[in-house]
């Protein structure tokens, strides 16, 4: 039974490739060879292509649609309009936010590039020719782009379909263009804190409309098998099970007749959580034609129509004592959700977790209001590489800390140290209702300051200022809130936001794990295998991880909001532990001892005090199918559904140093240091990669990304020619670091990291840019900090010559 002990425990541990090692990513072997299988790689026999006729207007009535000429194009098979979908009641569909969204424009268009008709053809070329020949007669209507104007009395009513409704899924509303009002905190106590404050500061802070812009755009292939009545839907889904449920609800098919498959997905960042008209039209097309229908977005379609992020018009206020200790916080937000409320957040949270806005600071009282508004822009309001609305919250509080520091003349690191939640206060209950699980903020900031030589940088800055040069130092000491979420407060369509893992250990000592999450590039096949390897003692190389097929994977809510590690990895760890429990019973039988006499030893159970007497997991796996104690079922497989008891709260301390060219407004990022604490680190190399990616996206957002609309509602710059996507040349060098403060409630102590760098990165850049002008009395500068905007500040200050 026991094998010759040729390896030490440490050697056996290394052979597992488990938690904590820099294991190369399993999936990269196929990605770097071009062997990935993305949505547009899916080709089915007899497949046809669909694409949209899109509105050139932002707000217009559709007087007529004439598709006859399009239908005459050789290769064009059908043209679907709202009138065709109406008898099926599919011309509108429910959104994840309780609103409804037009699948194909029904009488009116509400934003430029809205889907008006769906042309299905034998190939993409014929579809494109057909689109050009669909004749739509529009009557233009007044356009609303500014959410403030949208709420004025007498403003044009955008959503005539809901104009008489008191609510559109998220509570009472007060204007036909109003979606919801959401509040958090104690208004009276906060008013009192401000009334009695020694110091108050207030700043208007706009977080511009941006887009996740994953490298692969959205798309799907719908294939209805008329004989079996089964629908197979391949698509770029971050949450395949949720898509299956939505399709079942919308199409009226039982879920057992729907198979949703997310193949390899080229980035999501929140863009691929929701359901889009393209999916519905492809499904309808396949049902009607009996042929598979493919729909793939172009880049312009992606940026201008499927889920955007931010567009938060925020007003931040802090009350403090004369030393800068915060005594109260107010935040008022006008949230522009565009034409339909299609944010993708837990349904009880119309503004996501924006009330994490007290950040890493011990704020005694706060009050937050968020009003959602319709405008003639693309619908959405998703979380782009962040937990729900946390980037907005972190941006506001990190900016406001700097504003307060400048007001009272205290250093921007010092203001943070004075206000941090102290290590001994954890678990910490914030005044807005969150229980922070763990953290050590002062240690992180001090380590960061030491690493960058903070005091010397400030000295250098003073010298440069004396010479008329501009240098800025930006600090962000952010707290994320991830891992949605506990069933008591998080659900989507009523389904609680648990996560799941099934493990099957096979007779010869390998295993297959299936999970309800879905990697969009984060390396789940590697990290899950590492976790399970450590838990069950089978090498991670022998553990195959599968996600994204609803026919095989257990139900899960998907990957977004950094929930894979906090929720999915917990399910994986617990499933592994269940395997080990059964394995222990089998080992006791094999070794003819009591379970109580066994102890776990890396990859085997050993009889206490008799180290030579052991049963390896490999042997136990075979025994599970061949040599079982009486009363135990054959096989070695389990499934675990994990309902997290709390969120996790990763945090970090980032310091960015910039030089500003006052003649051109160009910003040069001289250095960027990022310390992240995500609790237990599963694969440090993957964490570093995640941080690099998140910081690069943060750089893009802070320095150039913005979806701009003109007064007519024309979307400007919805291609990479104009929408700022940094290349390796522009991207700064990243210096990464970490501390480890495990989560006390997570089975592994892990917290999630993928989104932290975006949450903390943006304010670090922005704070650095503003800091360069702080000595000239500047307290805030609007993002993105494109050269022309920075120059405008220089010009107003008269320092650009």
């Amino acid at each position: 039974m026991s094998e010759t002990k040729t390896e030490t425990a440490a050697e056996r541990e290394a052979a597992l490739g488990g938690i904590g090692c820099d294991k190369r990513r399993k999936e990269d072997a196929r990605f770097i060879r071009g062997q990935g299988n993305y949505i547009d790689d899916i080709k089915l026999p007899n497949m046809v292509f669909g694409d949209f006729v899109r509105s050139p207007y932002a707000h217009a009535r559709i007087k007529s649609i004439d598709a006859e000429k399009a239908k005459a194009v050789p290769g064009v098979i059908a043209v679907l309009t709202a009138a065709d979908l109406k008898p099926l009641n599919l011309h509108w569909m429910p959104t994840l936010a309780g609103d409804t969204q037009a699948v194909l424009a029904d009488e009116k268009v509400h934003f430029q590039n809205q889907e008006v008709a769906f042309v299905i053809a034998e190939d993409r070329y014929a579809a494109a020719d057909g689109i050009q020949l669909v004749d739509v007669d529009y009557e233009e209507l007044p356009v609303l782009i500014d959410p403030k104007k949208a709420l004025e009395d007498g403003a044009p009513i955008l959503r005539e379909d809901v104009k008489d409704k008191d609510e559109v899924g998220q509570g009472p509303r007060r204007h036909p263009n109003h979606i919801f009002n959401w509040q958090s905190g104690d208004k009276d106590a906060t008013d009192k804190a401000f009334a009695g404050a020694q110091v108050t500061v207030k700043e208007e802070i706009f977080y511009q409309r941006v887009h996740p812009a994953p490298i692969e755009t959205c798309g799907c292939v719908a294939s209805m098998d008329a004989v079996s009545g089964r629908l197979t839907l391949y698509g770029t889904f971050q949450a395949p099970h949720v898509v299956r449920t939505i399709v079942s609800l919308i199409a009226g098919l039982p879920e057992s007749k729907i198979r949703v498959i997310s193949p390899d997905v080229g980035g999501g960042f929140g863009n691929k959580v929701g359901a889009y008209p393209g999916y519905v039209c492809a499904i309808v097309g396949s049902i009607v034609l009996g042929r598979p229908v493919k729909w793939i977005e172009s880049r312009i379609d992606n940026i201008s129509t499927t889920a955007f992020a931010r567009d938060y018009h925020m007003t931040g206020e802090l009350a403090a004592d004369k030393d800068g200790k915060i005594t109260g916080l107010r935040a008022n937000v006008l949230a522009d959700h565009g034409a339909f409320n299609t944010h993708a957040q837990p349904m009880k949270w119309p503004a996501g977790f924006f009330n994490i806005v007290t950040g890493s600071y011990d704020v005694p009282t706060a009050h937050v209001t968020v009003d959602g508004v319709y405008t003639n822009k693309a619908p959405g309001g998703v979380s782009y590489r962040c937990s729900f609305r946390v980037t907005e919250a972190a941006y506001l509080i990190e900016r406001m800390l700097d504003v307060l520091a400048q007001k009272i003349g205290v250093d921007k690191a010092e203001i943070r140290l004075r206000n941090f939640i102290k290590p001994e206060q954890f678990p910490y209950n914030s005044c807005l209702g969150w229980e922070y699980d763990s953290g050590d903020y002062p240690a992180a900031l001090k380590q960061a300051m030491k690493a960058v030589g903070y005091e010397d940088l400030r000295k250098e800055q003073a010298e440069k200022r004396a010479r008329g040069e501009l240098m800025g130092i930006g600090i962000a000491t952010f707290t994320e809130i991830v891992g949605a979420g506990p069933s008591r407060n998080c659900d989507i369509l009523g389904i609680k936001m648990f996560e799941s893992c099934e493990i099957r250990v096979h007779p010869t000592g390998s295993a297959t794990a299936r999970l309800g999450t879905k990697s969009t590039g984060q390396g789940h096949e590697t990290t899950y295998a590492q976790i399970i390897a450590t838990e069950i003692g089978i090498p991670s190389d022998l553990i195959t991880v599968e996600e994204g097929d609803t026919d095989t994977a257990p139900y899960g809510l998907g990957t977004y909001g950094s929930r894979t590690t906090p929720v999915g990895a917990a399910a994986a760890a617990r499933a592994g532990r269940k395997i080990r429990e059964k394995a222990k019973k089998i080992a006791a039988h094999m070794l003819e001892v009591s379970e109580n006499d066994l102890e776990w030893d890396v990859d085997r159970f050993t009889v206490k005090g008799v180290p030579d007497l052991s049963a390896t997991m490999k042997d136990i796996a075979m025994a599970a199918y061949s040599n079982l104690p009486e009363g135990l079922e054959h096989g070695l497989e389990v499934v675990d559904y994990y309902d997290p008891p709390n969120m996790t709260y990763p945090f970090g301390a980032y310091i960015c140093v910039v030089d500003v060219n006052r003649h051109t407004g160009e910003i040069s990022v001289r250095s960027f240091y990022a310390l992240d604490d995500c609790g237990t680190r599963i694969n440090p190399m993957i964490i570093e990669g995640q941080v690099h990616g998140g910081l690069t996206e943060a750089f893009g957002i802070a320095m150039g990304q913005e979806i701009v609309y003109d007064d007519m509602g024309n979307v400007l710059g919805a291609s990479f020619l104009d929408y700022f996507m940094p290349t390796a040349v522009e991207t700064p060098h990243w210096e990464t670091d970490h501390t480890v403060t495990p989560s006390p409630h997570h089975p592994l102590g892990a917290k999630g990291v993928g989104e932290s760098p975006n949450v903390g990165g943006v304010p670090a850049f922005s704070n650095a840019v503003v800091d360069a002008f702080a000595h000239l009395g500047v307290t805030h500068m609007p993002m993105p900090h494109a050269a022309w905007r920075v120059w405008q500040t220089c010009h107003e200050l008269g320092i650009d010559k």
């Binding site: 993409r124 070329y125 579809a127 494109a128 020719d129 050009q132 172009s298 880049r299 312009i300 003649h663 051109t664 407004g665 160009e666 150039g704 913005e706 701009v708 400007l716 710059g717 020619l721 104009d722 700022f724 996507m725 940094p726 290349t727 040349v729 522009e730 494109a786 050269a787 022309w788 120059w791 405008q792 010009h795 650009d800």
Partner: protein, 289 residues
Amino acid sequence: MIPASFEYHRPGSVDEVVSLLAELGEEGRVLAGGHSLIPMMKLRLAEPAHLIDLTGVEGLRGIAEVEGAIHIGAMTTQAEIIKSDALAERCPILREAAELIADPQVRALGTIGGNAANGDPGNDIPAVMMAVDAAYVLRGSDGERTVAARDFYQGPFETALAVGEFLTAIRIPAPPAGQGQAYCKLKRKVGDYAIAATAVTLAVDGGVCGQAAVALTNVGITPLYAEAASTALVGTAVDAAAVEAAVEAAVAITDPAADLRGPVEYRRHAAGVMTRRAIETALARAKGG
């Protein structure tokens, strides 16, 4: 992102191109590297019924010195421009500008002729050609004629090319002794159009500027030859006052559109900053810096 249908032609000689163009008239477009035309076709902003691919045409590619002048075939790629040490020696601004065009993949296919003849005010080569006083060799059914780069551009995507004509070569006169050249481009990122860019050539002899040419990219509906700015430098010591006068004269003729690269005021200011930088750089190079 699917172009409308078109007929594809791949002639082997200049004469064949000429007769195809004569036959097809306005329905025919020549295709060089394709990095401007094909994206326009994918957006269906351009829908030529016939594409005449110049890739296989003999004699349109290469760099040669002819009686002191530099002759460059229209189908010479940006990568080939960058690679040529001889060209960099004789006329370094070409390599400097080509390295600022798009990215290596695009430069491997994008051609100097396409960039020059397309008529996009955002293209970099036209201002450079104005600064070096190049002549464009045009071929049509009536034979060959040359047009100065400074006279070639008439409006956005409107040039002196007549229907039935195409650009076969660019001729650059021998740069005078003691000439310094510079192309300075302000842009948001690799591959982007200029916020503003300026090409300058100037020659100094005995401390006095004997020749100067200033031309601007992407700050008007066409590339701009800044004649007054050029004149403002000639005969001076290119001192601070002369530079200031030239910058002012250059900025005065700019008329950029506001776009995501910045509002009008900023782009005009940036044109001034780039002009100053290009003059100062060219001067330093003229002096052997």
